[in-house]
Symmetry: C2
Subunit: 187 residues, 2 copies
């Protein structure tokens, strides 16, 4: 089984190292991890961003599954590029897995960065009056239920790990589910 | 042509009214707009979020195209649910359109909420040391180039409109592109 390894990990200073750790975990479990940075792109070229896109899309098209890192990135929810990729893979009918190293529900995450109150009709709103999703889910319902219906439910740790960007325990749990499916076992 | 109307518009206090305005613009241009809130969902039911997901996915599966509102939501980039839907529709091979009422490039948007500096090797990083995409694009490259390759380029106004959530000028430009395609003209 070929697995596309999506996540804001590519924005970390040690992005290449994280990718190697993830690929090694995949290999130990008998599956193959494809990491975006495996594509060689000349970042100085004028069309570098398009080359990155094409490389990532080709990797996704070649993969059987995705494991997306939905740990909150620059806000209360997951990284947009990663979410796009999860949607793309769901649309292509691929097996969708994801983890998130922050187990807090979405309303709590929004409350960390903004004032969340109850509106006149009883639902949660932020300081701009925009509704705050309050279904007890860790992130937007489209991603969470996509996983439930197109793969396996979001994997989260019981507690936020000390290093939210480098703890791969929940990632490895996803790999185990993928490996179980690849070998025909029900994970 | 049936168009799925994606966006954080559904979180506005006047979400239903915005949906009606968008559908009316579509009708005037001879195409059909499908708005998530057109699905009847009992929000008090215990499985409300799953019912919303299933309704939205069925709408997307029935649609030929998507017009996604990628105006920044609760952070420097687009709403996660909307981005998921854009990815899903790209994966399904549908015609992908989007607009964004904030024309600022991504690095500038991050600079509004965080300190952006140059790292030792010359690329932009935020206060956590995470890379800030610096390709001169308004949002994550996966969405922007998906539009270029699976539909038409992101539509943005020259200037941020006074009411960023209710100005539908750029939305209407997307509808015009869709209508042009529906009628066989090159938009």
């Amino acid at each position: 089984m070929k697995i596309y390894l999506a996540g804001p990990d590519v924005f970390l200073p040690d992005a290449v190292e994280i990718g190697k750790r993830k690929a090694a975990i995949c290999a130990r479990r008998g599956v193959s991890g494809f990491y975006p940075l495996d594509n060689a792109v000349d970042l100085a070229a004028s069309d570098a961003s398009l080359a990155i896109f094409k490389g990532n899309e080709a990797m996704m098209d070649a993969a059987d599954a995705i494991i997306a890192n939905l740990t909150p990135f620059r806000g209360p929810g997951a990284d947009a590029g990663t979410v796009y990729e999860l949607g793309y893979m769901a649309g292509r009918g691929k097996f969708c897995l994801a983890y998130c190293n922050d187990p807090a529900v979405y309303a709590e995450r929004v409350g960390r960065i903004d004032r969340v109150t109850k509106s006149g009709n009883g639902h949660l709103i932020d300081s701009n009056g925009l509704t705050v999703e309050d279904f007890g889910l860790p992130d937007n319902l489209m991603m969470i239920h996509a996983l439930d219906l197109h793969g396996a439910g979001l994997v989260t740790p019981r507690q936020r790990p000390a290093d939210i960007w480098r703890d791969l325990t929940s990632f490895e749990a996803c790999v185990a589910i993928a490996a179980g499916r690849a070998s025909g076992r029900t994970a």
